[in-house]
């Protein structure tokens, strides 16, 4: 599959319907289970975005699987009218990898929160990304532990006061996009729960990518960490605080697109005033760059959701997908070793007759 170059925020018809797949609606993708997130939770809008996007993908429900770990976000599969597994804390990338490798015909999605994916499951996440198994990972980042009622998470800001950190958290947080790029993920994007269209377009881009995809979704936990992203995701703040990444275009933002991003001599991304440096000096976003270093530099622009923060696709690089490589080895083995023959196998070591 090739990478598209459209801006995720504006491309609503990313994929044409596939032949022979019956048209569906949001309702077809919704299970009969009562949704049990807290009223006002950001998870609702993410669920809606996914359920609304699925009909656009032109895929069959029976070929779609959602796998999750443990946590609030991980209840997600129960609400999708697809195949689904609510598995073990942190392990969903591993379980999903096994399923995806065994069954390349399926669309395998993984849903989890910041604790699930980055704390207990951090190891599986980075390995799934480096292997480039064809799974689509939606990481709902609310910077808090919700289901265990409010402890700091691996994305909580330093000094955060929670039930388990009454004097402030001592932990330095992960930046999920930086982490994924460090693991050389072939597709890394970010979106947020206040912009359904952006979510839909970003998830669809992840789906279209041939390989592992990680989408960080800023998600508000209105019970334990309310307003964590308000400074950047509230409508009034978005122009000034969200940096829209568009492939092939100079990176600009601001109400009048007056700000821009340049690379400094050390390779770091820096925010500048376009009027001062001129448009020609701006960094042109290239999500297909083989080296993740520039995308990584972009991910370092904001160290917390109170600074101008890039949104959209950081990286969509085409490299060999694991399952395709695995299937190719299987096919080669059939060509080389021939049809399976149990008797030959059992007689493959030296034998003697009595």
């Amino acid at each position: 599959m090739t990478n598209t170059t459209q801006n995720p925020a504006t491309s609503n018809n990313l994929l044409a319907e596939k032949d022979g797949v019956p048209a569906t609606t949001k309702a077809d993708w919704s299970s009969d289970q009562e949704v049990r997130w807290c009223p006002g939770c950001g998870d609702y809008s993410i669920l809606t975005a996914v359920q609304m996007m699925m009909p656009d993908l032109g895929v069959r429900r029976e070929n779609t699987v959602f796998i999750s770990g443990i946590g609030c976000a991980a209840r997600f599969p129960y609400y999708m009218n697809t195949y689904g597994m609510h598995s073990i804390h942190g392990r969903s990338p591993a379980i999903a990898s096994g399923l995806a490798i065994a069954r390349p015909d399926l669309d395998v999605w993984v849903v989890g929160g910041d604790g699930d994916m980055l704390s207990i499951g951090g190891n599986h996440l980075i390995h799934a990304l480096r292997r480039n198994v064809n799974i689509k990972i939606l990481l709902f980042n609310n910077q808090i532990y919700g289901l265990t009622k409010g402890q700091y998470s691996p994305t909580s800001e330093p000094g955060k006061v929670t039930k388990s950190s009454p004097f402030g958290s001592l932990d330095h947080p992960f930046n999920p996009v930086s982490l994924a790029l460090g693991a050389e993920a072939s597709f890394v994007a970010r979106t947020h729960d206040m912009d359904r269209k952006h979510m839909q377009a970003t998830f669809a881009r992840a789906h279209a990518h041939d390989g592992a995809a990680l989408v960080e979704v800023f998600q508000n936990c209105n019970v334990f960490n309310d307003g964590a992203f308000d400074k950047i995701t509230k409508k009034a703040n978005r122009d000034a605080m969200l940096i829209d990444l568009r492939h092939g275009e100079p990176i600009r933002f601001g109400a009048d697109r007056e700000h821009g991003v340049v690379l400094d001599a050390a390779g770091g991304a820096v925010i500048v005033n376009v009027a001062e440096v001129g448009e020609a000096a701006l960094l042109v976003h290239d999500e297909t760059h083989p080296d993740p270093a520039v995308a990584f530099a972009l991910s370092r622009l904001a160290s917390n959701p109170e600074m101008p923060t890039p949104m959209g696709v950081f990286r969509a690089f085409d490299r060999e997908e694991y399952t395709a490589a695995s299937e190719a080895q299987m096919a080669t083995a059939k060509d080389t070793d021939g049809e399976p023959d149990l008797r030959s196998l059992l007689h493959s070591l030296p034998t003697w007759d009595v």
Binding site: S31, Q33, R60, R61, E62, N63, T64, V65, I67, I70, P77, Y78, M80, N81, T82, Y83, G84, M85, H86, S87, I88, R91, P93, A94, I95, A96, S97, G98, L99, A100, I101, A102, R103, D105, L106, N123, H124, H127, S326, Q329, M330, T332, A333, K334, T336, D337, G338, E339, P340, L342, R343, L345, L346, H347, L349, P350, T351, W352, D353, V354
Partner: protein, 626 residues
């Protein structure tokens, strides 16, 4: 082969011999033993082997910790163990002599590479005086051979570097032993060609050393050490020499083949299980997918994911790995999906003795998960039977949609014995059925799918993704009987807990009855499981030969137990349970059947010898007589 061979030259006929090759980790002792075994197998002997090596790849040279040994018994009759005390010890250096001399039979033969007995090596082994000179070996027959010197001598014009030439000295030892026990030379020469083909100098050096060792025996007045062990009279058939891990791998392939279902192995390398990953990764043409995961947890997770997708998910590991997989096994129990967890047991706890055998994971297999989480347990008992145990584990997992624990151990994994190859057409077919239709009707009369609606065996349907109309969600949360929807109802949880237990218990109706080997009218019954089979069988035979009556029950199914086991056990006055742990099976038997199962145990990282079990049983037998 026949048993009517004429004596070879002056070779004296003997019924069996136990040889132990011991040397430094770098001396190639495993290879030497393996080749001696391979030639003996092709010659038609019965045999059993015990590779015994350290965990370190190259422990400090010349030290006791670095000693690597390989024991093999070859015989002209059926045997079940690698033997108690070796008749011959080949010691390539002082450390090997010091470490293994105590195992040698009284008056046994020691063959030493005298070149390695310099001051430095003696000191490293902790010898103050040279044991070859201080009279401490007086009770043994000592044959001193300058193996290094002689090997270098024959290799000097063959174009190999002196260091490489010296490395061929294990073939000198093999040549010498091949002469002493009249082993055919061709299998080893062929093997050298195949192994080192293309590297002509190495081939030439190894062959020259091998021939030189052989000629040394012939010319150096060793004629009183010239023996022959004729082929064993085994059942007619085609045989191969197989170790447990290879047999187990082939069993998995055979099971998947007979089930017409792809095999998926998720594994993380761990001693002594890694060879199963290696073996399975070679056989992709059988539709075998192997996935080397980032850790033990991911390995079992990927296997479970593949099972969810309709493959036969397998994970292989050893004790520490099983501990890590526990949570996922619990999920598999809750999801009621097939999964085979293979535990090649080793000495524990923790890292324990990675390369040494033990059978101390039975309780972990039985109870090592949180919650009420029963799973079937199958145990292999000899190398070739690992093949059938693997098939049985897959059969139960697939038929009953449950994770199954398959227990083997380091001794079975690496030990070899002849295997009469089965006719593959006689292997049982394994039926795999995926759900394809709705199984329930809703209020509107429409067909719907209930993932936890069960059949008469309490087994739920296996509805794999990709099946239209059967979309459903499963998970680790307690689910309602039938619909599978999340349920926190107290009554439902009690019901589901009971069902999960009952469906495993019910498998007892579908496994072989326990059988008595030996004297059904004995008053004493030995109950074993796993690799103690060889030693118990050997001990029981000796006792019977001595006029005692001994019954032996060897369990291959440890959960559930065979349905007749309780009645059988209660029919004996005395039940003795030898185990390579502190009495785990005996406790299960006592708990289940209220029988006074007495435990005898060994936890030394070594398998039981027949002699040890014979002695322990004899105490009970003589007590009975008194």
């Amino acid at each position: 082969m026949t048993d009517t061979l004429e004596p070879v030259g002056t070779a004296k006929d003997i019924d069996q011999v136990i040889v132990r090759f011991a040397g430094d980790s770098g001396d190639g002792m495993q290879l030497t033993g393996d080749r001696f075994t391979g030639a003996s197998a092709l010659f038609g002997n019965d045999l059993a082997t015990l590779p015994d090596f350290p965990a370190e790849i190259r422990a400090p040279q010349g030290t006791l910790a670095g000693v690597s040994a390989f024991q093999v018994q070859i015989s002209n009759h059926e045997i079940t163990t690698p033997g108690d005390a070796p008749n011959v010890l080949v010691a390539m250096n002082p450390a090997a002599l010091k470490s293994d001399l105590g195992r040698l039979e009284v008056g046994g033969t020691v063959i030493v590479n005298v070149d390695a007995f310099g001051e430095r090596n003696l000191a490293k082994a902790g010898y103050i005086d040279n044991p070859l000179e201080d009279g401490s070996l007086a009770g043994f027959t000592v044959i001193e051979v300058k193996m290094t010197t002689l090997t270098k001598e024959v290799a000097k014009d063959l174009g190999v570097k002196p260091r490489d030439a010296e490395r061929s000295k294990n073939f000198f030892a093999l040549g010498l032993l091949s002469w002493m026990y009249t082993r055919p030379l061709e299998p080893t020469l062929d093997w050298i060609d195949a192994k080192f083909g293309g590297r002509d100098a190495i081939v030439a050096a190894n062959k020259a050393a091998f021939h030189a060792g052989h000629a040394y025996g012939e010319t150096a007045e060793l004629s009183e050490h010239h023996y022959q062990v004729r082929p064993a009279t085994l059942e007619k058939g085609t045989y191969t020499s197989i170790n447990g891990n290879t047999a187990l791998s082939w069993g998995l392939i055979a099971a998947a083949h007979k089930a017409s279902t792809p095999l998926f192995l998720g594994s993380y390398p761990i001693t002594p299980a890694s060879d199963i990953l290696h073996e399975l990764s070679k056989h992709k043409n059988f539709g075998v997918r192997t996935f080397q995961a980032e850790d033990e947890i991911a390995a079992v997770g990927a296997a479970l994911g593949a099972s969810y997708g309709g493959h036969i998910g397998i994970t292989t590991t050893s004790g520490p790995g099983v501990a890590l997989k526990g949570e996922t096994i619990g999920l598999a129990i809750s999801l009621e999906l097939p999964l085979v967890v293979i535990d090649i047991q080793r000495g524990g706890p923790s890292t324990g003795l990675p390369t040494k055998t033990e059978a101390s994971d039975l309780m972990m297999a039985m109870y090592g998960r949180h919650g009420e989480a029963p799973m079937p347990i199958v145990a292999a008992y000899k190398p070739s039977q690992c093949f059938y145990a693997a098939i049985e584990a897959v059969r139960i997992a697939v038929k009953y949609r449950t994770p199954v624990m398959l227990l083997s151990d380091g001794y079975l994994a690496n030990g070899s014995a002849p295997w009469k190859l089965p006719d593959v057409d006689t292997l049982p077919e394994i039926a795999v059925e995926y759900a394809s239709e709705p199984n329930q009707t809703n209020e509107d009369g429409e067909g719907v799918f209930w993932p936890y609606l069960r059949d008469e065996n309490l087994v739920r349907p296996w509805a794999i993704p990709g099946t239209p109309g059967l979309m459903h969600r499963i998970g680790g949360l307690e689910k309602e009987d039938g619909t599978g929807n999340v349920s926190y109802s107290p009554e439902n949880h009690a019901l589901m807990t009971d069902i999960r237990q009952a469906r495993i218990d019910k498998i007892a109706e579908d496994i072989p009855l326990a059988e008595i080997d030996g004297d059904a009218d004995a008053s004493l019954c030995v109950v074993g499981w796993g690799s103690t089979w060889g030693a118990i069988t050997g001990a029981s035979r000796r006792l019977r030969t001595a006029g005692h009556k001994v019954a032996h029950i060897h369990l291959t199914h440890l959960n559930p137990f065979p349905p007749n086991l309780g009645d059988l056990l209660r029919s004996f006055d005395e039940v003795i349970v030898p185990e390579l742990n502190l009495g785990q099976l005996s406790r299960l038997l006592r708990a289940e059947y209220l029988v006074d199962a007495k435990s005898i145990t060994k936890v030394m990282g070594q398998p039981y010898t027949a002699g040890e079990i014979e002695a322990a049983l004899l105490e009970h037998l003589t007590l009975d007589l008194s």
